[in-house]
């Protein structure tokens, strides 16, 4: 039955790619849409306030600096809010907020949300005021998600334009992403979620008296306001400690399905946006095909690992798969689907505890993040990562047939290659360095409060892979609320967001300036299944070369140790 759920999920994603991708292309090419009568006046008002115009254009450098500036301002605002939140009015009552908001936790959280990582070293219901949730987390979910989409659109323009010094305007794109894409979907989806049971209130925690006469305090809050946008913006930070495993965040299999769709559909649809804006729709389909194939492979491995009776529990005469850390209503099937979607979608909104997955089960989300979130991936950034890998594939393919490597008619010469290779190296450099430092220092080892050995290694590597990929999911056995982890994961989040983002935009600027090569008999076609296979192989090759030795010490060692 779970295979039907998986096939249904992928079918809906694929079916929505063309219409949604087309809509995105219309929005960012400023063509008329049916929301215009409502939103154009709002947009005009915002532009006047900010002193920008619809036809404003920016070079790659200005686009990058605007993106970075906006992200850092957002982090600053959230930091301020977190530091003063004790004094903010409204619920929940003080005695429930047991996690101390230290300066390092506040800074880590601020950077985390401004970079769409939304890694949480705290539990929501024991840490945050409702006011912080809304004015800080919800709004940063919108803004950081929109900024990521803007970068993705700018990158597509780089491939679509010829002889152009500019990539569009960051401000115009970001505002359009909020108004035309994220707000309407959050509103419509939010209503469905409330209907299914996700709360939306500002009440104090409910004092219930259970059937057996015990007292139970039930956490409340404006959960539904966060739930859609955390997924649409591929942020993922939960309202509650256990994120989408919490019945208030994710009450039914339908909400699970919908929340996972809202992670995958927009990033997947950007392949069609690329196809439309560059006039090469088949190239977009090829990238989507690579994504779906790699997605399905990871899903199959993960579900086989989790659906089997856990080997460590063999002999106890249990019936069923690995349900430790999983919810009954999702079962193994819906839990694994969420693990694979969230780890591919740069979204931390897991609905089961990856820290309790089998060794090969947790290998899949870890590898998905280490590959750079290219399978659907983060909103905007996922497509960029996929194209970066595609450029390496085109480079390899070009060398094989002895031609100047090119992608969609854009030549990949020395400078483009340098930027691409820097991009491919930054993730392993940051993740492996920080993992080594954590494992070699007392401060790093102190985080391993639940599990040790190969599992502990995996937990630490998972934390940095997640931060660098701006994913935000964790293996929660690691206690990450310490100065050491708050500081080092923040470094990875900043490198993953702005380091990789700057390389993406620099490359987009170079491509925009180029003319497009004509297609000849000697051109390596970019829109065939063969090219797709080359791209998939390249992704696995680059990821494997970078991370296999480290993975051997973690999940692989654990899997072999029984």
């Amino acid at each position: 039955m779970r295979w039907i759920e998986y096939i249904a999920f992928l079918s809906v994603v694929v079916a929505l790619v063309w219409p949604v991708g087309g809509y995105l292309a219309r929005v960012f090419e400023h063509q008329p849409t049916w929301l215009d009568p409502l939103l154009r006046p709002v947009e005009a008002r915002l532009h006047r306030l900010m002193g920008v115009t619809l036809d404003q254009e920016m070079s790659a450098g200005v686009y990058t600096l605007s993106f970075v500036l906006f992200g850092l301002l957002g982090a600053g605002w959230l930091l301020l809010l977190l530091m003063i939140q004790q004094g903010l009015p409204g619920g929940p009552a003080d005695h429930y907020l047991t996690t101390p908001m230290t300066a390092d936790l506040a800074a880590n959280t601020a950077i985390s949300f401004a970079t769409t990582t939304t890694w949480q070293a705290y539990g929501g219901e024991t840490t945050l005021r409702y006011a912080t949730d809304l004015l800080g987390l919800v709004s940063q979910n919108f803004l950081a998600g929109a900024a990521g989409l803007a970068v993705g659109i700018a990158f597509i323009r780089g491939l679509a334009r010829e002889n152009s010094a500019t990539l569009g305007s960051f401000w115009v794109d970001m505002i359009r992403a909020v108004l035309w894409v994220l707000l309407p979907l959050s509103l419509a989806g939010g209503l469905v979620l409330v209907w299914q049971g996700v709360p939306l209130n500002f009440a104090a925690y409910t004092q219930a008296h259970t059937l057996e006469g015990a007292a139970q305090a039930i956490a409340q809050g404006p959960v539904a306001a966060l739930e859609m946008i955390k997924n649409l913006g591929t942020n993922g930070g939960g309202f509650f400690n256990v994120n989408a495993a919490h019945p208030f965040e994710n009450p039914t299999p339908l909400t699970n399905f919908l929340e996972l769709l809202s992670i995958a559909v927009l990033p997947a649809s950007l392949t069609a946006t690329l196809g439309r804006m560059t006039g090469r729709p088949r190239a977009g389909w090829v990238l989507l095909g690579v994504m779906v194939a790699l997605f399905a492979a990871g899903l199959a491995i993960c579900v086989l690992a989790e659906a089997a009776t856990p080997p460590q529990l063999a002999g106890l005469h249990l019936a069923g798969g690995n349900m430790e850390g999983k919810e009954t209503r999702f079962g193994v099937g819906g839990s694994v689907l969420a693990a694979v979607v969230t780890s591919n979608g740069a979204t931390g909104s897991y609905n089961s505890m990856h820290g309790s997955y089998q060794a090969l089960g947790v290998l899949v989300p870890l590898v998905n993040m280490l590959l750079g979130e290219v399978i659907f991936g983060g909103l905007g950034t996922g497509l960029c990562g996929m194209i970066m890998m595609t450029l390496i594939a085109a480079f390899l393919g070009g060398l094989m047939i002895g031609r100047t490597p090119a992608y969609l008619g854009k030549r990949i010469t020395v400078h483009e290659t340098q930027l691409t290779i820097l991009y491919a190296l930054l993730t392993p450099a940051v993740v492996l360095t920080l993992t080594s430092i954590a494992l070699a220092t007392r401060a790093g080892q102190a985080g391993l409060v639940t599990n040790t050995g190969a599992r502990g290694f995996t937990e630490v590597m998972f934390a940095y892979a997640s931060s660098m990929a701006n994913n935000g999911q964790n293996m929660a056995g690691l206690n990450a609320d310490s100065l050491f982890y708050n500081a080092t994961t923040a470094v990875a989040m900043l490198a993953g967001r702005f380091g990789l983002g700057a390389l993406i935009l620099a490359l987009a600027g170079r491509f925009a300036a180029q003319l497009r090569l004509a297609i000849t008999d000697g051109t390596l076609p970019n829109d065939t299944p063969q090219f797709g296979a080359l791209v998939a192989a390249t992704i696995l090759l680059v990821g494997g070369l970078s991370f296999l030795p480290a993975l051997a010490l973690g999940p692989v060692a654990e899997a072999l140790s029984r």
């Binding site: 707000l183 709360p199 219930a208």
Partner: protein, 218 residues
């Protein structure tokens, strides 16, 4: 490197640092304006509009799906609560606070190689077999002996509920067939036939039990 690669080199006199400083200064107004205006729009107006609509369309759910019995809130339909008495169906083990603490969700996070997980499951399985008078080698549904992701899982598998029927029926002096029928009425199938997993809500089943016949404390 070929020459036609470089059409857009910035003029020599502008250093990168000066370019960055000038750009950042020029973009400060749109950045601050966007941050303030969009924070108010998305962090204030949006939640309030959604709140108003939700209150109108689904007021019960918006308030947390609370269950009221005889004028008192006894819990939420969506949130599991602890049951230990023999005359109630039991939920899964919970790692939220001291068990089903709905103000502090949480899981064990035990990895498969952690001996604590094996110990906890072995003990839970032994307890489950004792409570439900099952022979030593009887198969136990895995959900009955493992902690959920949230620690607040409101549901158990239908197999788990079925194995608890004789115990509950005995404790309540009800016919097993009556209790079994009650369980069957509370089995939720996969949503739309293919989403998620079949399940039984423990709180709703126990509320129905209380309506069907008096339990006895102990």
């Amino acid at each position: 490197m070929t020459i036609d690669e470089e059409p857009f080199v910035p003029p020599r006199r502008t250093s990168a640092a000066r370019f960055a400083a000038r750009t950042l200064l020029a973009q400060l107004r749109p950045a601050i304006g966007a941050l303030i205006a969009l924070t108010l729009l998305t962090g204030c107006l949006f939640p309030l509009v959604l709140f108003a609509l939700a209150r109108g369309i689904s007021p019960d759910q918006a308030a947390g799906s609370l269950v009221v019995r005889e004028g008192a809130v006894v819990g939420s339909r969506l949130i599991g609560q602890a049951f230990t008495r023999a005359d109630y169906f039991h939920p899964r083990p919970s790692a939220a606070g001291n068990g089903y603490d709905a103000s502090s969700s949480g899981a064990t996070n035990y990895g498969p190689s952690n001996p604590k997980q094996v110990d906890a499951v072995r003990k839970a399985a032994a307890d489950y077999r004792t409570q439900n008078a099952l022979p030593g080698g009887a198969e136990v549904p895995v959900d009955a002996v493992t902690s959920s992701g949230s620690g607040l899982d409101p549901q158990i598998s239908p197999q788990n509920a079925a194995l608890q029927v004789p115990r509950v029926a005995r404790a309540r002096r009800l016919a097993e067939a009556d209790v079994r029928r009650l369980v069957a009425e509370h089995v939720e199938d996969r949503q739309f036939g293919f989403m998620g997993a079949p399940r039984v809500s423990v709180l709703e089943l126990n509320l129905a039990l209380d309506r069907a016949g008096p339990g006895k404390a102990g």
